[in-house]
């Protein structure tokens, strides 16, 4: 049941804009992916199912905040796209409905594994590896050699030239923090971050900001997800993308059904579609470069080839837990940020 309440003055004018119900019912989706992909999958699913989809794009943090705020009376049915970490938090807080799609068996192992970690409440739709990108023009101008490993970034030659987001505000940077801990071990990772700190010119708020800064030459090196870097490169910016030699972590983008969804059946249909090879093809069609989770889906030609990247066995269960998050972040604040 969905109740709505309009007050006098605005209502008449708003009448014209209210979407009308189609015969197959309605579906409300919050989209955490790229705007182009949101629009793409919305249109494709509406065409296929006849369901009247209302979709709006927000950042993953905003979606989590909204779903928490609405938990007594949810207005949203599906959370689709965006990094899976906040969806694991939502699952742990009991905000999501458990659902295993019939398409489940077609999914790659990491997506199924993600589903298990979430207690069956969220499923992986794509994966993207962490890395960094450097601006080739600045590199040339300064006559530096290209970095290829995490350790390189801490070298004196890149003093004041590295940008990374603040893990307190950005999921991307938290993934980087957890990745480094998993590669080097915790103490060594913080020693490394302390050295890296000398080179960092800014801890940005948003996770995708560093790679955009690198693209525009505002910094030499930006640490980010590689598919975000690919998007910048495709746009025509002079950047080169690096998969670190020590290995790297990755994010899993996810889809889930909100607990108490008003259009539960339609929500499940959408999840089925989002996990199918057909639904995942909408990503490549919208110019996205992540690796799809359905084994039968075609991998976008520009996507960083996961097979050639040395990936760590990223432990989503441990590093997604609230305790570990608090522990790592308070250590980051104490040992790295206060070094200023």
């Amino acid at each position: 049941m969905r109740r709505r309440f309009h007050s006098g003055a605005g209502a008449v004018a708003l009448l014209a804009m209210t979407a009308s119900a189609a015969a197959e019912g309605r579906l409300n989706v919050l989209c955490g992916a790229d705007e182009a992909w949101c629009t793409g999958i919305e249109a494709a699913f509406e065409r296929k199912s006849g369901i009247d989809v209302s979709m709006v794009r927000k950042s993953s943090g905003e979606i989590l905040a909204q779903i928490r705020a609405e938990k007594d009376n949810p207005k949203v049915d599906v959370w689709w796209g965006g990094t899976g970490d906040p969806q694991l938090q939502a699952a742990a807080e009991g905000l999501l409905e458990a659902y295993s799609s019939p398409v489940h068996s077609e999914l790659l192992p990491w997506a199924q594994n993600f589903h298990d970690i979430s207690g069956g409440r969220a499923t992986g739709i794509y994966a993207g590896a962490l890395g960094f990108a450097y601006n080739t023009q600045i590199l040339e101008k300064k006559g530096l050699t290209a970095p290829s490993c995490w350790k390189d970034l801490a070298s004196e030659t890149y003093r004041g030239e590295v940008q990374i987001a603040n893990p307190n505000s950005s999921g991307t940077a938290y993934t980087a923090l957890a990745t480094l801990v998993q590669i080097f071990g915790e103490d060594e990772a913080y020693r490394y971050l302390g050295e890296l700190n000398e080179n960092v010119n800014s801890y940005t708020k948003s996770g995708s900001a560093p790679v955009k800064a690198a693209a525009r030459g505002e910094t030499l090196i930006g640490i980010a997800f590689m598919h975000d870097a690919v998007t910048q490169k495709q746009a025509g910016f002079p950047i080169e993308i690096v998969a670190p030699c020590e290995g790297t972590g990755y994010e899993i983008g996810a889809v889930s059904v909100i607990k108490g969804a008003r259009n539960l059946d339609n929500a499940k249909l959408f999840v089925d579609y989002a996990l199918s090879a057909e639904g995942q093809a909408t990503g490549a069609a919208a110019g996205q470069n992540q690796v799809p989770s359905n084994g039968k889906a075609t991998v976008p030609p520009e996507a960083p080839d996961i097979a050639t990247i040395k990936l760590v066995d990223y432990d989503f269960a441990t590093y997604g837990s609230a305790d570990m998050r608090t522990h790592l972040l308070s250590r980051f604040d104490g040992e790295v940020k206060t070094a200023h």
Binding site: H6, E35, V56, S59, G61, K205, R325
Partner: protein, 725 residues
């Protein structure tokens, strides 16, 4: 008076008998609720049927009260007409409508009243009861005010309570939610006094200060620079013979009709490390290109660009309002131009200056877009609150504590402003006809004004030229092939089988934004000016507290407002999320303070004797407001309407949580584009919005124009006629 009560009660009864008492699925303008049984279904039943058929005996009370009031007003059936009894009954009726649903939500009483959102029927009945009560109260002669004034006070109080105070209460209760370890007070105190909030390291050689320190620093800097520049522009327009005044007015308006991150992007392209100016300077002066833009200085530059027009809008009304005869009197007494400015004009500008400074300070505190784009690692309170809510380590309690600190800062600014203005009278528009020419600026002042404004104008022109140019090139900053692709993506229109197909990606949010803003703007202005009038011309209990509450929603960063609206209005009794109404309400109460401040400054200039003349001649307070004050307030009205329309289109942070798929706003859409790095489409969209807003503002200016004072708007000769001795 009798007729007024009769009409109000009849209207209330109509709502009671014929409008759905509760909210219905998808709103009453959709077919869904009629298909489900209309007024006869349990959900769609009006108050009368809810009482009779659906077992809600409490709802009988408002119906009976209204019927009783109606009968007593027309004197039928010998119903006793003691106003005291009627008043008690009305209050009882109001309580029966409003208390049970809130008690059900918060205290668990009256469970049968909970779970349903109040609908049109309930609103109409409540409004009718309230206004009947205030009309009677005024008639009882307890106060020396008439029905209109009392009704306005009650209505504004209720609205502010419901849409400012009630949501904020939701956020504040989060501040004292139980922490995982330690006591509530301990955790609140440790957050509120932490080094990351109040640290002063940036003054002692460290890299970063606390976020509160950053906010204050930035607020003072921005308020100072915007007030000075705003005054300079106001003087340039009114007191000099600057040739291109129309163009200048348009240029000073440009920054507020621009989504803030667009200016931020342009500044990055100019002054960023790889920016054109920076690169040029680095090559020319052979210094290392710096990153000074990312931090407080960059945010200050962007905020000054963005908020100077607000100071200008406040100050132009005041500067224009100062009577030339006072300045002429000063000159007759042999003051030279500088002395006139210093001792007569400037002191008379004080309400304007104080209001401009207060607005600049508060705008800076609440600004979100600029610190987000340019703040780098220097956090301010507004961004810190946002990331405490949506960040990787979500901590709503910390967000709430920081929000409270922000509130206290606003309170502080507000008190300082009041102390400075004191109780001095600034009235310069009186009933006496005054004539005369404005004193021109002295040479020294004129040089200062030109010296301040001209470079700033140049910078504004360059920034906007870049934004304009950027929407037509392939990849802003790198590939400058001219293209129309961005506009095509956003605003494509196709003809398909003789019908127009709005296939551009931006149309949906574009129309929503325009509709919502144009609905909100006049309401905002009306409520703001009404409130200003109450504050200046009426005395009532708790006025100072009331004045502060009207500033609250403006002071709190939009993100917190948005979140508080979700918390407060997602569940019954008032359920609004997912509708356009919540956006309209959010804009009204968020932007109302500008109408209030502008109105306060303007009304203070109008001598009370004008009101008194009208009242002495037998006009009620409504007539006085309508026929005496409103015509004199035209510039303030234009400013309030224009400003709230613009804010509806450009505000970002408040709407992020409130937009829904059916009601998506342009800025929320543009932010998505910026996050993806689709700067081209983003600024193309922003440019279209700028053009639309300019057109609307010119239309508003043209339609409502300036006030007609019996003055000649001319500037005297640089050398006054009196002989220099």
């Amino acid at each position: 008076m009798q007729r007024a009560v009769f009409t109000l009660a009849a209207f209330g009864l109509l709502g009671y008998c014929a409008m759905p008492w509760f909210g219905v699925d998808y709103g009453i303008f959709e077919r869904d609720w009629i298909d489900a049984g209309g007024l006869l279904s349990e959900q769609g039943a009006p108050g009368l049927l809810q009482t009779l058929i659906h077992g809600r005996p409490l709802l009988a009370i408002p119906g009976l009260v209204l019927a009783y009031v109606l009968f007593s007003a027309c004197g039928i059936g010998g119903v006793p007409r003691g106003p005291r009894l009627l008043l008690c009954l009305l209050v009882l009726g109001l309580a029966a409508v409003a208390l049970p649903p809130f008690a059900a939500r918060w205290l668990g009483f009256f469970p049968e009243a909970g779970g349903q959102a109040l609908g049109y029927g309930a609103i109409v009945v409540a409004a009718s009861l309230l206004l009947c009560a205030t009309t009677l109260w005024a008639r009882m002669g307890r106060s020396n005010r008439d029905a209109f004034a009392v009704g306005s006070i009650a209505l504004v109080l209720v609205l502010i309570g419901l849409f400012v105070f009630y949501p904020i209460l939701h956020v504040l209760t989060q501040a004292v939610s139980a922490p995982s370890e330690g006591t509530v007070i301990g955790s609140v105190l440790s957050t509120a006094t932490g080094r990351d909030v109040w640290g002063l390291a940036c003054f002692t050689g460290g890299r970063h200060c606390g976020v509160a320190v950053n906010s204050i620093l930035l607020g003072v800097l921005t308020a100072t620079s915007t007030t000075v520049l705003g005054l300079a522009f106001a003087l340039l327009i009114t007191r000099t013979r600057f040739p291109a005044k129309g163009l200048l007015r348009a240029l000073t308006i440009l920054p507020i009709i621009t989504p803030p991150f667009v200016v931020g992007l342009a500044l990055i392209l100019l002054f960023g490390r790889a920016g054109w100016v920076t690169t040029f300077a680095a090559d020319f002066l052979d210094v290392e290109a710096g990153r000074w833009l990312y931090g407080l200085w960059g945010v200050w530059l962007a905020q000054t660009l963005a908020f100077t027009p607000i100071a200008f809008l406040v100050l132009i009304g005041v500067v224009e309002g100062v009577s030339p005869s006072l300045e002429e009197a000063a000159q007759t007494l042999r003051a030279d131009l500088s002395a006139t400015m210093r001792t007569v004009s400037l002191p008379l500008f004080r309400p304007g200056l104080a209001n401009a400074f207060l607005l600049g300070f508060i705008e800076s505190l609440a600004d979100f877009g600029n610190p987000l784009v340019l703040g780098g690692a220097d956090g301010v309170l507004s961004t810190e609150i946002y990331f405490a809510v949506v960040g990787a380590q979500a901590d709503p309690a910390r967000a709430a504590v920081l929000a409270i600190i922000l509130l206290f800062l606003t309170l502080g600014a507000f008190l300082v402003q009041r102390m400075w203005l004191g109780r001095t009278s600034y009235a310069t528009i009186t009933g006496k006809g005054d004539n005369g020419a404005r004193a021109p600026l002295s040479l020294r002042h004129s040089a200062a004004v030109h010296g301040l404004t001209m470079p700033w104008l140049a910078l504004t022109v360059v920034v906007y030229a870049m934004i304009f140019y950027g929407s037509f090139v392939k990849l802003w900053g790198y590939d400058h092939t001219i293209t129309l692709d961005h506009y095509r993506t956003a605003f494509r229109v196709e003809w398909l089988d003789g019908a127009v197909l709005w296939s551009g990606s931006a149309w949906n949010s574009f129309w929503t934004t325009l509709t919502i803003s144009s609905v909100a703007a006049p309401l905002t202005a009306a409520l703001g000016l009404l409130t200003a009038w109450l504050l200046i011309r009426q005395e009532f209990f708790g006025k100072t507290a009331f004045e502060f509450v009207t500033m609250l929603s403006f002071a709190i960063p939009g993100t917190v407002v948005g979140l508080s609206y979700i918390l407060a209005f997602n569940v019954p009794p008032i359920e609004l999320t997912g509708t356009g109404v919540i956006l309209v309400l959010c804009f009204i109460f968020r932007n109302m303070p500008v109408g209030v401040r502008g109105g306060v400054a303007a009304i203070k200039q109008i001598d009370r004797s004008l009101d008194e003349a009208s009242l002495t001649l037998g006009g009620g307070s409504f007539q006085t407001l309508r026929y005496v004050l409103l015509p004199l307030l035209r510039p303030a009205i234009v400013a309030a309407v224009a400003y709230s329309f613009i804010r509806g289109i450009t505000s970002v942070s408040a709407v992020i949580f409130l937009v829904s798929a059916d009601h998506n706003m342009a800025t929320a859409y543009i932010i998505g584009l910026v996050e993806n790095g689709s700067y081209g489409v983003a600024i193309a969209y922003a440019n279209v919005l700028i053009v639309v807003m300019l057109a609307v503002m010119l239309a508003v200016q043209f339609a409502f124009g300036g006030r007609r004072l019996r003055r000649q708007e001319r500037i005297g000769n640089a050398l006054p006629a009196r002989a220099r001795s």
